[in-house]
């Protein structure tokens, strides 16, 4: 495949990935927070009925409504984290990646806590998320002009596209992928 063809294919994959992400987000909203809000709305209708007919039962229902609100909030939090982790935005790559790895039953060995441009942090974070498997370890370190990550396994097209979009490079050796994302284009 020549360079132009590869560029076209990469652009098509990027668009496809963006659409897939939108569909996942729509599904997440529909199956998550929207369902909790619908249940809340129905239960509020019920609460109105009980306020007149059975105030004692209303107390139990209010407890349930409180739990529904917390579940709705948790759905929003989970979806927001999936779209763009607040930890990555607020605290940077090291904390966000360690947190993700811990929840995924893996390990993130991040040897830098310096903040770098947001697009570089995001690229390295989402590449690591894509590559990280339960029980595995991912390493990230800073070089003078780049952030580097290393994980076992082959890179997916999404990883190649993200690294490529920022002018970075990938190397696969002995079943390990090393990605290098420059701090400036």
């Amino acid at each position: 495949m020549d360079e132009m063809e590869e560029l076209r294919a990469s652009r098509a994959r990027v668009l496809e990935a963006a659409d897939a992400e939108r569909r996942r987000t729509e599904r997440g909203l529909h199956d998550g927070v929207q369902q909790h809000l619908v249940a809340l709305a129905v239960n509020l209708q019920l609460a109105r009925q009980l306020a007149d007919s059975d105030p004692e039962a209303l107390n139990g229902l209010l407890d349930e409504l409180t739990r529904d609100v917390h579940e709705a909030l948790e759905s929003v939090r989970a979806l927001a984290r999936q779209i763009y982790p607040p930890l990555l935005l607020d605290r940077g790559l090291a904390e966000a990646l360690r947190s993700f790895a811990a929840e995924a039953g893996a390990r993130a060995d991040v040897a830098t806590s310096d903040r770098v441009p947001p697009d570089v942090e995001a690229a390295v974070y989402f590449c690591c998320v894509e590559l990280l498997r339960p029980g595995a370890t991912i390493r990230v370190w800073a070089e003078e002009d780049a952030l580097v990550f290393e994980a076992s396994g082959e890179p997916t097209p999404a990883v190649a596209d993200r690294v490529g979009a920022l002018g970075g490079s990938l190397k696969v050796e002995a079943g390990r992928t090393t990605g290098r994302v420059p701090l400036a284009p």
Partner: protein, 121 residues
């Protein structure tokens, strides 16, 4: 007279809310719960409910197709379609599938169901 109701929705929080709502509403009895359009058709044939509260968006046989089947085979069963769509966003088939009407899920309550059935009756 008690209205015997079947609810069909693949979302557990909504089914649970309907369960609580109907249990506390005089004149309603929940007789069955389906989690797909196919199951709704099967249960409607077996239970002969007076009313099916049918979610539109379910995997497999969706709510509209299930409502159409029930309308053509169960003369004594009315179907009310429910979803979180606004009424003007509904697919055209929602109006022609034989359902008695449409309710936004957030507006579901005993008075709304009664009003809709009375209006269509």
């Amino acid at each position: 007279m008690t209205l015997r109701v079947l609810v069909a929705d693949d979302q557990a929080p909504f089914r649970k809310a309907v369960r609580s709502l109907l249990a506390a509403s005089a004149g309603f009895e929940l007789v069955g719960e389906a989690t797909s359009g196919e199951q709704a058709v099967t249960l409607a044939e077996a239970l002969h409910p007076d009313l099916v509260l049918m979610d539109i968006k379910m995997d497999g046989l969706g709510g509209i197709a299930a409502a159409r089947t029930i309308a053509s085979t169960q003369a004594g069963t009315a179907t009310i379609l429910v979803s979180t769509y606004r009424e003007d966003e509904l697919p055209a088939e929602a109006r022609t599938c034989g359902a008695a009407g449409y309710l936004h899920k957030a507006e579901l309550g005993a008075p709304a169901i009664t009003r809709l059935l009375r209006g269509k009756g």
